[in-house]
């Protein structure tokens, strides 16, 4: 079969799975008075359509910030505005000011789902395809297999099409940025045969396009900050490499100018009055909401089982502690990236930084794990076993949320499907020697001081063991009643188990990054 038909089959499969998941319920369906994220998105459409820009982020008579007030950066607001125009065209009731609160109907659900599908087809899927086809090694079949696995990643599908969110926009931007950096790294700017991006690339230079895209992502969702340090270090590292006195300085200036201009453009409507941007920032970073909410699989929530940090420490200490720990875990990988700005390092740094943020930073949502899962998706072809393991764990960590939304069935089905298909398509179990797990150097180091260990076999056993544990916990948390004294027993167990996994993963990815052997040459040969 030709490439195009394989690609279209894989895209169609992804789309079918997405739309089939969308048959199920969404976050907060039929649960007044607050509903859920679905209502939040609808409410933002209502607010942005009916109110002038200056009122969007302020508590006014028509804009009750306590009822799903806008707390995402301006680009999200603009996106809502565009959707609202379409909604108004289809049915004015959907965005009527105040009167439309809690509006739910079958057609409206279809409309909301369609907007997600539309954005997905337009941005996310092309980005995945371009990534797989231009920047993965292997035969075209292997590339298609990689693309299919990324497209079927259950976490994203469930949150977008079940729970309801638009994380795809920032996803896109993240991916295309990666691609952009890829281009510089391997193809030196121009040789990419993509018409549209080729034009953009020629006009702006790939670095600039990349930083532009990232700035947009940052302005779509503030959580994109999780990835900001690797971007910064990568670009800075590149500038240093070119010489900070000559071409590098020029590049640095260009990049910073791009970032500033993009920021200015995004924030233009809010710049007229100094109070505006401050209020937006205040909405974006709600420090007063506490160290963590609900049950998140991060350090604070898990530690909370043993020590009640929330009550023990003052808010300022908490802030400081989380900030310090996050920084501590990001720094090694960022410094390594700074000294060695390659694509491989960059991808690893993205994983490490977003995981560190997820595990240690202040006010983390369980959905934020998707931000770490995305860079991990880029590894499904290189380190299949670990990537699959991580992606499944990340889906599992959202179990309480998904069960609350009534998405148990699609969770089970998509996770199992992803597990089997990806293990089969990527032949993950066969491709897990020490070398392929990128642990070769580690092996050599431990050879002297430790008895010889068969790391690959240990990891495979751990993989199966953890899958069984996750399956068992999923099963018990759904079918068994928790004891009356501990109503939150199962969600806590889920988050602690996932936290242990994530801790393991961050150590693993840091090890891989910091002990990267000189594999640049061999990589070039395979290209």
């Amino acid at each position: 079969m030709e490439n195009w038909s394989l690609i279209s089959l894989c895209v169609l499969l992804g789309l079918t799975a997405r739309w089939a998941v969308s048959f199920h319920s969404y976050s907060g369906a039929g649960k007044p008075p607050m509903f859920g994220d679905y209502e939040a998105q609808r409410h933002w459409q209502e607010v942005t359509y009916n109110l002038p820009v200056r009122e969007w982020y302020f508590n006014t008579t028509n804009n009750d910030l306590n009822y799903w007030g806008l707390d995402y950066p301006p680009l999200t607001a603009y996106h809502s505005l565009v959707c609202a125009y379409v909604a108004k065209l289809l049915n004015p009731e959907w965005v009527e000011l105040n009167a439309s609160r809690g509006y739910e109907s079958h057609t409206h659900k279809l409309f909301m789902r369609a907007t997600v599908l539309f954005a997905d087809i337009l941005i996310y899927i092309p980005a995945v395809l371009v990534y797989c086809f231009y920047f993965c090694d292997g035969s075209s079949k292997q590339k298609v297999a990689t693309a299919l696995c990324i497209l079927l990643y259950p976490g994203l599908v469930l949150i977008d099409y079940g729970h309801f969110q638009y994380p795809l926009l920032f996803t896109l931007i993240l991916l295309c940025t990666c691609i952009v950096f890829n281009c510089i790294f391997r193809y030196n700017c121009v040789s990419l045969g993509l018409a549209l991006w080729g034009i953009l690339g020629l006009g702006l230079g790939w670095d600039l396009f990349g930083s532009l895209a990232f700035t947009l992502a940052l302005n779509y969702k503030q959580m994109e900050l999780y990835h900001s340090l690797p971007f910064f270090c990568y670009l800075l590292g590149k500038c240093i490499k070119q010489g900070l006195t000559g071409r590098g300085l020029f590049l640095l200036a260009k990049i910073s100018l791009t970032v500033l201009v993009t920021f200015a453009l995004c924030w233009m409507p809010f710049l007229s009055d100094p109070k505006q941007p401050l209020q937006v920032l205040n909405r974006l970073f709600p420090v007063d909401r506490g160290l963590f909410e609900d049950k998140v699989a991060n350090t604070w929530c898990s530690l909370n089982v043993l020590i009640k940090i929330k009550t023990l420490l003052s808010r300022e200490t908490q802030l400081f502690l989380s900030f310090a720990l996050t920084l501590l875990f990001i720094l090694p990988s960022s410094l390594k990236l700074l000294s060695k700005p390659t694509l491989w390092q960059f991808k690893l740094a993205l994983v490490n930084s977003s995981l560190a943020f997820f595990l240690f930073s202040f006010q983390v949502h369980e959905k934020s794990i998707l931000l770490a899962a995305l860079p991990v998706c880029l590894f499904v072809n290189e380190i299949p076993l670990i990537a699959i393991w991580f992606l499944l764990t990340s889906t599992f960590s959202m179990l309480p949320l998904l069960v609350k939304d009534g998405l148990l069935l699609p969770y089970v089905v998509t996770s199992l499907a992803f597990l089997f298909l990806s293990l089969y398509l990527l032949s993950a179990l066969e491709r897990s020697t020490d070398e392929e797990l990128r642990l070769g150097l580690y092996h050599k180091l431990t050879l002297h001081c430790l008895p010889k260990l068969n790391l690959s076999r240990i990891i495979k056993w751990k993989f199966w063991f953890s899958l069984v544990a996750m399956a068992a916990l999923s099963f018990t948390s759904v079918w068994l009643e928790p004891p009356a004294k501990l109503p939150d027993l199962f969600p806590v167990l889920v988050s602690v188990l996932s936290f242990l996994h994530f801790l393991g993963f961050i150590i693993y990815f840091n090890l891989v990054q910091l002990m990267e052997p000189q594999r640049k040459k061999s990589q070039k040969k395979t290209n």
Partner: protein
């Protein structure tokens, strides 16, 4: 899709598992009244004694499948009680709690194991199964065509029916004939007949083939019949198998003296010539010709509007369709047409059987002939031709061409089954998925002799895209939607009828000339 090792059979399980997961995702999709039909059957077989099964009429969806299927429902009902006991109460009409939906959907998915097994057996029967590349392997393509069949997916797993399981039995029986295990094949087919009697349409092919190729043990050197080789023993064995199956199934009802009642439930002739939505067959063309003539007649002042039957002007959505110019068609006439249409094919395999492949071809012709000319045919019946034809399609180029035309038009004609907006994307995605797969995989399989379809056929098939766009997207926005809501359906069935008729003719020609093609194959 991209298996590392083409030799092992892991790809088969990947395809089967993949489609099963997809089916599970469709559990919450729209389901038609057939869902309630089967729930009702579960309830009545569970809570009533056998003697009342075919008399019970609380629900309008009375039991109208043969007894073995009723027993199948009876068996399912014993598992159903662990999901939700309420669904087993006959009086709970239109009961569809989440547990009921889950159970019914899962029962279809689980029953499809039969289909998966049958497909595996069919793959073993393929003549040549080499192909260096996995994606170009005939058995891989056949598995894709059968397990991922668009029609089966939407009819069974969205619309709701148990066709996958029934086709599994049919395909298994065909595979047994290919493997020369004729008695098993005959047993399976008689079981199938007692599960769903629509398969009577293809029974003539079975009857003639078994009589000719099983009961007569030898042929003359030129392939014609050697009368002296008749084996009474084989006929007796065959007869015993078939009769005992029927005895097991209908025996209790004969003993109870309920046979006429059962038969009247199985063969209701009170329905109209065409279903509410015309299946794409000859009668769709006949109806449209009648309508065209009547409009033309009125325009030319040859006919008087007041004298025309009223229904013909709003037709397409009414069950009783009265023809205004052309003679009306009686059930007997359709029966005669059906028989006439399959007779040459039967005669052909009697005369020159051409092995199990000739039989399979004849079976497809029977299925398609009854689809083209039958009384009150459902559009879903096209699957009875498409699925067996897949087996032939991976073996010969000409059959692949027929298959593409038949499957694309036939599947497209199933679109009106799912009319809800929510399912619109999924039916389009699935249709594209299956069509692209069948087009490109068959093209690679027969890549030697140029394009599979000629320009005219390709244009006809591409014409389905604008047809879909107009019917589902443009037409509902126009003013005619209110006055003539049936027009899109009518166009769909007429347009598809052309393709199905064309495929039927092609298939007939290939059947009547098929011994030549096999000879040519041998000389190659």
């Amino acid at each position: 899709m991209a298996a590392p090792m083409p030799n092992d059979h892991s790809w088969f399980f990947a395809l089967a598992l993949g489609v099963s997961f997809l089916k599970c995702l469709l559990i919450n999709a729209y389901h038609s009244t057939d869902f309630e039909v089967h729930r009702n059957w579960l309830a009545l077989t569970h809570s009533l004694p056998v003697s009342q099964w075919y008399y019970e009429a609380t629900s309008e969806w009375t039991l109208d499948y043969p007894p073995l299927f009723a027993w199948f429902e009876y068996g399912l009902s014993h598992i159903a009680q662990f999901f939700d006991k309420e669904m087993l109460v006959v009086q709970n009409l239109n009961y569809a709690s989440p547990a009921t939906v889950l159970f019914q959907r899962l029962s279809v998915i689980a029953a499809d194991v039969v289909l998966i097994h049958a497909v595996k057996e069919c793959c073993k029967c393929l003549r040549e199964d080499k192909g260096k590349d996995l994606l170009g392997k005939p058995s891989f393509i056949l598995t894709g065509l059968l397990l991922w069949n668009f029609g089966l997916l939407i009819v069974d797993h969205i619309h709701f029916q148990y066709n996958g399981f029934l086709f599994g039995v049919l395909l298994l029986s065909i595979a047994r004939h290919f493997q020369n295990r004729h008695l098993e094949g005959a047993l399976l087919f008689s079981i199938l007949l007692n599960l769903k009697h629509i398969y009577l349409y293809i029974a003539p092919a079975y009857g003639i083939f078994l009589l000719r190729c099983f009961c007569f043990t030898q042929n003359n050197p030129d392939g014609s019949l050697q009368w002296r080789s008749f084996s009474v023993l084989r006929l007796v064995a065959l007869g015993t198998i078939v009769l005992s199956t029927f005895a097991v199934s209908f025996g209790p009802f004969i003993a109870l003296g309920q046979l006429p009642q059962v038969l009247s439930r199985l063969f209701p002739f009170k329905r109209g010539l065409c279903h509410a939505y015309w299946a794409p067959n000859i009668w769709a063309l006949y109806n449209i010709a009648d309508k065209a003539f009547s409009i033309l007649g009125v325009k030319l002042k040859l006919l008087d509007i007041s004298k025309l039957p009223k229904a013909s002007m709003t037709g397409g959505l009414v069950q009783e369709f009265q023809h205004s110019v052309l003679p009306s068609v009686s059930p007997l006439a359709t029966l005669a047409c059906t028989l006439l249409s399959v007779l040459p094919a039967l005669f052909r395999i009697w005369h020159r059987p051409n092995g199990a492949r000739g039989f399979l071809r004849c079976l497809v012709v029977c299925a398609l002939g009854s689809f083209m000319f039958g009384w009150h045919v459902h559009e879903k019946a096209i699957l009875m031709a498409i699925l067996p034809l897949s087996l032939l399609a991976v073996e010969s180029r000409e059959d692949a061409r027929t298959f593409l035309i038949l499957s694309i038009t036939g599947h497209y004609s199933l679109f009106p089954l799912l009319f809800t907006t929510q399912e619109l994307p999924i039916k389009i995605f699935l249709m594209l998925l299956f069509t692209i797969f069948s087009l490109t995989s068959l093209k690679t399989l027969f890549s030697k002799g140029g394009a599979l379809l000629n320009p005219l056929e390709a244009t006809y098939l591409l014409g389905l895209i604008p047809l879909e766009l107009i019917c589902e997207f443009v037409y509902p926005l126009t003013v005619w939607q209110k006055t003539f809501p049936f027009l899109p359906l009518m166009f769909t069935s007429v347009y598809c009828a052309l393709g199905v008729a064309y495929a039927f003719i092609r298939l007939y020609i290939s059947l009547l000339t098929c011994s030549d093609t096999t000879k040519r194959l041998k000389t190659h």
